[in-house]
C-alpha cells in the first residue's frame, strides 16, 4: 500500500528485487509456484485465439452433439420424475424443518426417508450404451465386419497409447523403481526402499512443493503422509475463508431442499451404506454431497468440461434471462454410484470442510471426465478404447474368446473405470491407485489396470462359456494387489 512505499528504506531501484526477496522469505514464492502449477495442471493449454468456448470444452463437433443429446435425456428424466412425484426441483424449507435438519446435521444417516419412489437418473450401463453408439460421421467404417471395424464396443477413432508409450509415460512404475504396494510388503526389509521413501516424503512436505509432491506419489504415498501430500498436490490449504465457505454451503443446505438431495440420499443408501469399508462414513457423505450440490464455484469447471450445467427459471419467469438459474447450483446431477467418489477420501480427511475441499478439487480435476462424453485422453471414451485396444493387442485370444461367447470385455470393466475402481478394490489398494492418478495427472491408469485384471484372470476367463460366468470370474476384486498387476502387465508381459 501507499504508506509502505513512502518508508525511507524502500528504494525505487531495488523495489523489484526487494519484493522478490520478500516472497522468498515469507514463503509466498512457494505458494505462488504451487498455485501456478495447480492452474497449469487443471486448465487446458491456451488454444487458438479464434477457437470459440465450445471448442475448449470439446473440439470434436460430433462429441459435443452426443453430449448434448445425452444431457437432454437426463433433463427429461429428471423432469418426469418431478412431475410424476409432484415434487418441486427446489423448495425453501419451513423454519421448523430447518431447525430439525440443523440438529441432526451430524447424523443424517439415521434418517430413513421413503425413497422408494425415487430412481437414479441413470446408471453406468445406460451411459455405456450411449458411448457404444457414438459415431464419427466422417469415419468410413462400413456396416459389415471388416479389418477396419473396431472389434470392441467403442467405434470412434480416438488416439490411445500402446504399451511402449505407456511404459514411457508410467516409467516410475518400472521393475527397477521402488514402489509402495510392492516394495513395502512384509517380506521386504524396510531399509531397502520404504524408509528412504518415507524420509523423502517428509522432506517434500517440509518444502511444501506441489510439483515435487506430484512426482513423489508416482511411487506411492506412505499412509501417514498421504492426506497432506494429496492436499499439497491439489493445492488445498484450509484457510479460515475456506471453513467459512463450507459453513455457508451448509447454511444453503439447511435453507433449501433440492430434489437432487433425494437422489444423493438414495445413492448413498444403495452404495456406500452397503459397503463393508464405507458404511461408517455415511454421515460424512451427506455432509459433503449435499453441500457440493449448492457450490456455485464448481460451475467454473464447465469451461473445460464437455458437459454443461442444466438451466431453469424461477417459477413464473420462464424465458426471462435475469431469472435464469442453474440446477442444481453446482450444475452436476449425481448418478448411481456417485457417492463412491467421496467415500475413499473419508479414510484420509476427518474434518468435513477439509474432506469437502479435497473431494471438490478431485471432482473438477478428474472425476468429471468419467461421466461426460469427450475426446480428452483421460475422458471415459478414451479410457474405454484404451482398455479394449490393450486387450485386443496383447491378449488377442482372450479378447476373441470373450467376444465369441457374448461377453464383450468392456461390458464388465466399464463400471470399474467409471467409479475409478472405488468399491471394487480394497481401500488400501484403491488409495495406492489414486496416488498414481494424482502423480501422473491422468486417468489412463484406470484402463491399464482394467486390462491387467483381465490378463491376471485370463486362464479362468478362457474356460467360461457365457457373459454371466465371465462376470462371476471378475466379480470380486477385493483381493487384488494393484501395483504388481500394473507392473507385470506393463513391464513384464512378453509382447
Amino acid at each position: 500500500n501507499q504508506a509502505s512505499l513512502q518508508r525511507p528504506e524502500i528504494k525505487l531501484e531495488s523495489l523489484k528485487e526487494d519484493i522478490k526477496e520478500f516472497f522468498k522469505i515469507s514463503g509466498w514464492e512457494k505458494k505462488l509456484q504451487n498455485a501456478v502449477y495447480s492452474e497449469l495442471s487443471v486448465f487446458p493449454l491456451p488454444s487458438h485465439p479464434a477457437a470459440p468456448p465450445e471448442h475448449l470444452k470439446e473440439p470434436l463437433v460430433y462429441m459435443r452433439k452426443a453430449q448434448g443429446s445425452w444431457e437432454k435425456r437426463i433433463l427429461k428424466s429428471l423432469n418426469s420424475m418431478c412431475t410424476e412425484l409432484s415434487i418441486p426441483l427446489a423448495r425453501k424449507r419451513p423454519v421448523g424443518e430447518q431447525k430439525e435438519l440443523l440438529n441432526k446435521w451430524n447424523e443424517m444417516g439415521t434418517d430413513e426417508p421413503d425413497l422408494s419412489l425415487f430412481r437414479p437418473v441413470y446408471a453406468p450401463k445406460d451411459f455405456l450404451e450411449v458411448l457404444i453408439n457414438l459415431r464419427n460421421p466422417n469415419y468410413e467404417n462400413g456396416d459389415s465386419l471388416s479389418f477396419r471395424t473396431h472389434l470392441g464396443l467403442i467405434q470412434v477413432p480416438l488416439k490411445v497409447k500402446d504399451i511402449p508409450e505407456l511404459k514411457e509415460c508410467f516409467a516410475e512404475l518400472g521393475l527397477n523403481t521402488g514402489q509402495l504396494g510392492i516394495d513395502d510388503s512384509t517380506q521386504v526389509p524396510p531399509e531397502l526402499f520404504e524408509n528412504e521413501h518415507v524420509r523423502i516424503g517428509q522432506k517434500v512436505l517440509a518444502e511444501q512443493d506441489s510439483a515435487a509432491a506430484q512426482q513423489y506419489v508416482r511411487q506411492g504415498s506412505p499412509t501417514a503422509l498421504r492426506a497432506e501430500l494429496w492436499a499439497l498436490i491439489l493445492n488445498i490449504s484450509s484457510q479460515p475463508e475456506d471453513i467459512l465457505y463450507y459453513e455457508q454451503l451448509k447454511t444453503n443446505v439447511i435453507q433449501h431442499d433440492l430434489l437432487v438431495d433425494s437422489l444423493i440420499y438414495k445413492d448413498v443408501k444403495l452404495t456406500a451404506s452397503n459397503d463393508d469399508y464405507y458404511f461408517v462414513f455415511e454421515d460424512y457423505l451427506y455432509q459433503v454431497l449435499l453441500c457440493f450440490s449448492r457450490d456455485t464455484s464448481v460451475l467454473s469447471h464447465f469451461a473445460y468440461n464437455s458437459a454443461s450445467p442444466p438451466k431453469s427459471y424461477i417459477r413464473g419467469k420462464l424465458g426471462l434471462e435475469e431469472y435464469a438459474v442453474f440446477y442444481p447450483p453446482n450444475g452436476v446431477i449425481p448418478f448411481h454410484g456417485f457417492s463412491m467418489y467421496v467415500a475413499p477420501l473419508c479414510f484420509l480427511y476427518h474434518e468435513p470442510y477439509k474432506l469437502y475441499q479435497i473431494f471438490r478439487e478431485m471432482y473438477v480435476r478428474f472425476f468429471f471426465r468419467l461421466h461426460s462424453i469427450s475426446s480428452h485422453p483421460s475422458g471415459i471414451v478414451s479410457l474405454c478404447l484404451l482398455f479394449e485396444t490393450l486387450l485386443q493387442t496383447y491378449l488377442p485370444q482372450l479378447f476373441y474368446h470373450l467376444r465369441e461367447i457374448g461377453a464383450q470385455p468392456l461390458r464388465i470393466s466399464f463400471k470399474w473405470m467409471v467409479r475409478a475402481f472405488s468399491g471394487y478394490l480394497a481401500t488400501d489398494q484403491l488409495l495406492l491407485l489414486w496416488d498414481r492418478i494424482l502423480g501422473y495427472n491422468s486417468l489412463e491408469i484406470l484402463a491399464v489396470l482394467a486390462a491387467a485384471v483381465f490378463a491376471f484372470r485370463a486362464v479362468n476367463l478362457m474356460e467360461v462359456t457365457s457373459l454371466a460366468a465371465a462376470e462371476a470370474v471378475l466379480a470380486d476384486l477385493s483381493t487384488l494387489k494393484v501395483m504388481p498387476l500394473l507392473q507385470i502387465f506393463l513391464f513384464a508381459t512378453v509382447t
Partner: protein, 175 residues
C-alpha cells in the same frame, strides 16, 4: 501495426484423381481448394487461418504475377505441412490452425508476398538509476490492476445461486 482480414473467395473442393471420376471406386486422397483475392491492391500476407476438418497434410501453392508481360508462375510455399499426426485418429482433426509468415523452415511466403518486418530492438537497460517516470507508470499500472481485480470480485455474486433469495423453480429447460 494493425491487421485486417483480406477478402477472399474460397472455391469448392476439387478431387485430384487419376482416371474416370464416375467409374472409379476409390476415394480421392487429395482435394484442391482454390482461393482467389478479388481486391487488386497488393497486400502483405501475415497469417492464414482456418479450421481443419480431417485434412492430414497441407500444401500451399501461390500463383505469382511478376509483371504484365511475363507469364504467371506457380510457387510452392508450403509442402505437406502436418495437421494430423495420426491421420487415422482424431488428433488435430477439427483444430483451428494459423500459419504465419515468419514460421520457418516449413513456411516461406515468397518475397513479393511480404516484406520481412524489421525486428524490434529490445530496450536497453540503463546503467544506474531507473527512469523515475517509467517506474512510476509501472507502479501505477500494477495499482490499476489490483483495483480491477478487487472490483471484479465484488461485482460477482459469490456463492449465490438464487435470485433475490428465491430458488423456487419451474422444470429444467432444454436449450
Amino acid at each position: 501495426m494493425s491487421r485486417v482480414s483480406v477478402p477472399c473467395h474460397v472455391k469448392g473442393t476439387v478431387a485430384l484423381q487419376v482416371g474416370d471420376v464416375r467409374t472409379s471406386q476409390g476415394r480421392p486422397g487429395v482435394l484442391v481448394i482454390d482461393v482467389t483475392f478479388p481486391s487488386v491492391a497488393p497486400f502483405e500476407l501475415q497469417e492464414i487461418m482456418f479450421k481443419n476438418y480431417y485434412t492430414a497434410f497441407l500444401s500451399i501453392r501461390v500463383r505469382q504475377h511478376t509483371s504484365t508481360h511475363a507469364p504467371t508462375k506457380w510457387v510452392t510455399c508450403l509442402r505437406d505441412y502436418c495437421l494430423m499426426p495420426d491421420p487415422h485418429s482424431e488428433e488435430g482433426a477439427q483444430e483451428y490452425v494459423s500459419l504465419f509468415k515468419h514460421q520457418s523452415p516449413s513456411v516461406t511466403f515468397p518475397k513479393w508476398l511480404s516484406h520481412p518486418v524489421p525486428c524490434e530492438q529490445p530496450a536497453l537497460l540503463c546503467e544506474g538509476l531507473p527512469d523515475p517516470s517509467r517506474v512510476s507508470s509501472e507502479v501505477q499500472q500494477m495499482w490499476a490492476l489490483t483495483e480491477m481485480i478487487r472490483a471484479s470480485h465484488t461485482s460477482a455474486r459469490i456463492g449465490r445461486f438464487d435470485v433475490d433469495g428465491c430458488y423456487d423453480l419451474n422444470l429444467l429447460s432444454y436449450t
